[in-house]
């Protein structure tokens, strides 16, 4: 096994860790960095629970080698809120009961944030397609879509 030293910026803070070359970024974030808000639902890019941003673009961290993250910036659910102030998406997910078990929630929040940064006023259809890479088995997506709509509205006010 050959190791790799990875220097990254995670949620704004510089962070270094060593890992085997074949380790995924998902495993490193969970097991070496301690960011267990990033979830594994499938490990094959089909469920979106491990969604993060890598240099600002939305990816499944299970489909990224940790070694690839060297020199890059990572954003996870742990970095969404601003200190004690929740991100509007986080607020609206709670207000709209957009989660039941909550395991998919971190991934949905990251995906929804990526969507709203590109498209501040998405239609219902655009929201549904943008979130199609995130599986939720509890809610039937109804309240998730409504929460994203509400957050988009809130964010447009600012």
């Amino acid at each position: 096994m050959s190791g790799f030293l990875v220097s990254t910026k995670i949620n704004g803070d510089a962070f270094q860790f060593a890992c085997p070359s074949e380790e995924t970024l998902l495993d490193s974030l969970r097991n070496r960095v301690g960011l267990t808000g990033v979830k594994e639902g499938c490990g094959t890019g089909d469920c979106g629970a491990c969604s993060i941003t890598l240099d600002g673009s939305l990816v499944c961290s299970c489909l990224v080698l940790a070694a690839e993250a060297d020199g890059r910036e990572i954003g996870t659910v742990e970095g969404l809120s601003d200190g004690m102030k929740l991100h509007p998406l986080q607020e609206k997910f709670i207000e709209h009961a957009a989660l039941q078990c909550g395991i998919c929630t971190p991934g949905f929040l990251i995906s929804a944030k990526a969507l709203l940064e590109k498209n501040p006023k998405p239609s219902e259809k655009e929201i549904r397609y943008a979130l199609a890479g995130n599986l939720c088995r509890c809610t039937g997506y109804d309240k998730i879509v409504r929460a994203v709509q509400a957050a988009a509205k809130e964010m447009r006010k600012k």
């Binding site: 085997p20 490990g43 659910v77 742990e78 909550g102 395991i103 599986l135 039937g140 109804d142």
Partner: protein
């Protein structure tokens, strides 16, 4: 302590409001800890080696090379998990499902396990274990497994419920018959008889969180298990019994649970993790991969169902019969029995008979999945109901209303109903604006009804009041979908305090008495009941303390609107004492103030739903899109309407997935071909419309707040509702679920449409 459980028609201040859930912030910030999120110093990685065959003799397992690999701390097989069940066959089944004993019974059956210092070493160790198999004939189809020449999977299974008792072993575990009246006479009276056979494929609960646990067992025989489960008390009992531990020495903590829907009511690899931890004398974390979840946990039955319904031209059903064959996987189950019990439960039938068969196949052991067994039976019955309505030229909703069960109806599964909600849900569906909406070309509307029992069970709750007047409520029913919010509302309502003053915890097995598993839609029903009684217990104590503070007899103190008030003219100068004021003085009036309750929460009340669905079918590709969906269901009192709606919507979405695309696909080799979310196609966000809900609140007379279970029934009608809608869209009756595009196109072809 016995309590009055009857519904009191009380006016609520908080119940019914849409407050934020107490665990919301943890879950939107990533702080909430699920099954795979715990770690312990020195923990090892556990991994399981699984059978690559559908059915095989395990002639030899050579673990020597794996054991010698540096970093491997334990390698186990069934030899390390001796049978301690004392002849309890159903417990032995669980043990054998956790680890094959001489025979691999399905693709993915565990045959050995390792614990090693890291992921890479554990993976390599699995590769070094050499298993010598001798392949045996297999069977994965329920109808084929019942045929006389089928390979018999267990030589100890003799069909029960048949007369005379069989002398030969077979794959048919049991026959269960339900019903009353004389169906032959009933069919003779009918003007119209429709007979049809239906098939449904096997589906998985599809929770997003794979099974995961962290197990520790010390040399003193004490153990700790952190696990994602719907029932940590049940897990403790089963694990302790299987691996020979004292129940009290095993502490089980339920992590946050990332979905269960019945699939996390059974142990799968937790006893294996505990044995590995004991062998290695180190904590072992065992997390299933998604492939393992599909192959080696408990999906629902595939089924084959015959339905026959006869009716008079005026719409009265004269007789109804069904034979239901349920594939239960490699071990005996009760799924066919449940299918037979639920099949005709929505209707008031003079002559009815349902016969359920439980059948063993070379597939993973079936587990409960949300209203287990009811959706498949409903698919057959509710599809046939539409066919009969069509034959007699009656509107299908009217036909159902005419035959709906009501108070006093003898249910097809035996008992006589008290007040029930099927009639009201049907009426509400009939009057719903959805029913009148216009349909376009290639679109069709369907509706269907569903039933589920609901149950309560053993429950134990602690309510502790802090000196600052805030309340800590410890419950033992795992919160699978927001029940902490509901229970917080109930405690606050009962005590007359603010919702924000209550913090609800899910206690571990060491901190509370036994609680049954969160299943059967019982979480809020039963823990809600225990919470009310615990709060009432605490209120008695608060009155005692107020009496001490005032120095008057307790008989002169009453609890009103969240305050202790002194009764009678002598005391009318005493200002009421708030809970906060009494709590503040508690150190000097007798110490901490608490309420406690243990109860068997029976009387959960049966549950009914009616669903309406519009679909659009592309006649050239057979693709079906659900364009509108409405759920009408009786919830009893909706404590937190958001989460009631969430249950309705989630159940409907699972049913839609099942109806259209989800299925286990086995090859002729008996191997599962689609053990992943790519090809096991659960609905994605863009597949679904908003799912409308209408909550009917018909209070449950057996619960002080009128609560009924709401979690399961909503998965029952969708298969049939969509089948009926597709049929109305394209004029072809679909009899095989899922109604995937190839099946629809084939049906269209065969019908010459």
């Amino acid at each position: 302590m016995s309590h009055d459980t009857s519904y009191t028609k009380q006016k609520f201040k908080l119940i019914g409001s849409r407050v934020n859930r107490p665990d919301g912030i943890d879950k939107v910030t990533g702080r909430a800890r699920y099954g795979a999120d715990a770690s312990a110093p020195g923990q090892l990685v556990g991994k399981v080696l699984r059978s690559p065959h559908a059915h095989a003799l395990i002639k030899k397992i050579d673990t020597t090379k794996a054991e010698k690999l540096p970093g491997v701390k334990a390698v186990i097989t069934s030899a390390d998990m001796p049978d301690l069940t004392g002849g309890n066959r159903s417990m032995l089944d669980i043990l054998e499902n956790c680890m094959a004993r001489g025979r691999a019974l399905y693709d993915g059956h565990a045959v050995a396990a390792v614990a090693a210092v890291d992921e890479q070493t554990a993976r390599q160790a699995l590769k070094l274990i050499k298993v010598t198999y001798k392949r045996l004939p297999h069977v994965t189809d329920v109808d084929k497994a019942m045929l006389p020449g089928a390979p018999v999977i267990h030589d100890w299974v003799f069909t029960s419920g048949v007369d005379p008792k069989p002398e030969k072993a077979s794959n048919v575990v049991q026959r269960n018959q339900f019903g009353h009246g004389d169906v032959e006479a009933g069919f003779a009276e009918a003007d119209v008889i429709v007979e049809k056979t239906f098939k449904t494929e096997q589906t998985h609960q599809g929770y997003i969180e794979p099974h995961a646990c962290l197990a520790t067992v010390g040399p003193d025989g004490h153990g700790d298990l952190w696990v994602t489960t719907q029932g940590h008390f049940h897990f403790r009992q089963v694990c302790a019994a299987l691996i020979g531990m004292d129940v009290a020495k095993l502490k089980v903590t339920s992590s946050e649970i990332g979905g269960g829907f019945g699939g996390k009511t059974h142990v799968w690899m937790e006893p294996v993790a505990l044995v590995l931890a004991r062998e290695a004398n180190r904590p072992v974390k065992l997390v299933m991969s998604r492939e393992e979840v599909f192959k080696a946990t408990g999906p629902t039955s595939s089924t084959s169902v015959d339905v026959k319904i006869g009716a008079k031209k005026n719409g009265t059903i004269t007789a109804a019969a069904a034979e239901l064959r349920y594939q239960g996987g490699a071990f005996p189950g009760i799924w066919g029995m449940l299918g037979a019990m639920t099949s005709f439960a929505c209707y008031d039938l003079k002559n009815v008979q349902s016969v359920g068969y439980d059948v063993i196949c070379n597939r993973p052991k079936v587990a409960a999945y949300r209203a287990p067994s009811a959706p498949m039976a409903a698919f057959g019955i509710e599809s046939t109901m539409d066919l009969v309505a069509e034959e007699i030229g009656m509107d299908p909703v009217k036909f159902r209303i005419k035959n709906a069960a009501k108070e006093g109806t003898q249910a097809s599964y035996g008992p006589v109903y008290g007040p029930i909600g099927i009639g009201p849900t049907l009426k509400a569906a009939q009057n719903h604006p959805h029913m009148k909406a216009k349909l376009r070309k290639n679109q069709g509307r369907g509706m269907a009804c569903g039933f589920w029992f609901n149950f309560g069970g053993q429950t134990c709750t602690d309510l502790n009041i802090g000196v600052d007047g805030t309340v800590s409520l410890a419950v033992g029913t795992v919160d699978v979908g927001g029940s902490r919010a509901s229970l917080g509302l109930i405690a606050a309502e009962e005590l007359g305090i603010e919702y924000e003053q209550v913090k609800v915890h899910i206690a571990d097995t060491a901190s509370l008495g036994h609680n049954d598993t969160t299943e059967g839609s019982r979480g809020t029903f039963s823990s809600g009941m225990a919470t009310i009684f615990a709060a009432r217990d605490a209120k008695d104590e608060l009155c005692q303390r107020a009496a001490k503070m005032w120095d008057i007899p307790v008989s002169a103190v009453a609890w009103k609107e969240g305050k202790a008030v002194a009764k009678g003219k002598r005391h009318n100068n005493l200002a009421p004492l708030t809970l906060k004021e009494i709590a503040a003085k508690s150190p000097n009036t007798g110490g901490p103030i608490a309420g406690h309750n243990e109860v068997v929460a029976d009387g959960a009340g049966v549950s009914f739903a009616s669903h309406i669905c519009d679909v659009e079918v592309d006649p050239e590709t057979g693709a079906t899109k659900v364009i509108r969906y409405t759920v009408v269901q009786d919830a009893g009192k909706a404590i937190h309407p958001d989460y009631v709606e969430g249950q309705f919507q989630g159940g409907a979405a699972q049913g839609i997935g099942w109806a259209l695309n989800e299925e286990y696909i086995y090859g002729d080799d008996g191997l599962l071909q689609n053990a992943g979310f790519l090809d096991y196609r659960i609905p994605v966000c863009s597949d679904l419309p908003f799912i409308d809900t209408e909550i009917l609140e018909i209070p449950n007379p057996n619960h002080p707040y009128g609560i009924r279970g709401v979690g399961e029934t909503s998965i029952v009608p969708p298969l049939a509702a969509i089948g009926n809608a597709v049929s109305n869209a394209v004029g072809v009756r679909m009899t095989h679920v899922p109604m995937s595009p190839p099946r629809i196109l084939k049906a269209l072809d065969e019908a010459g449409v």
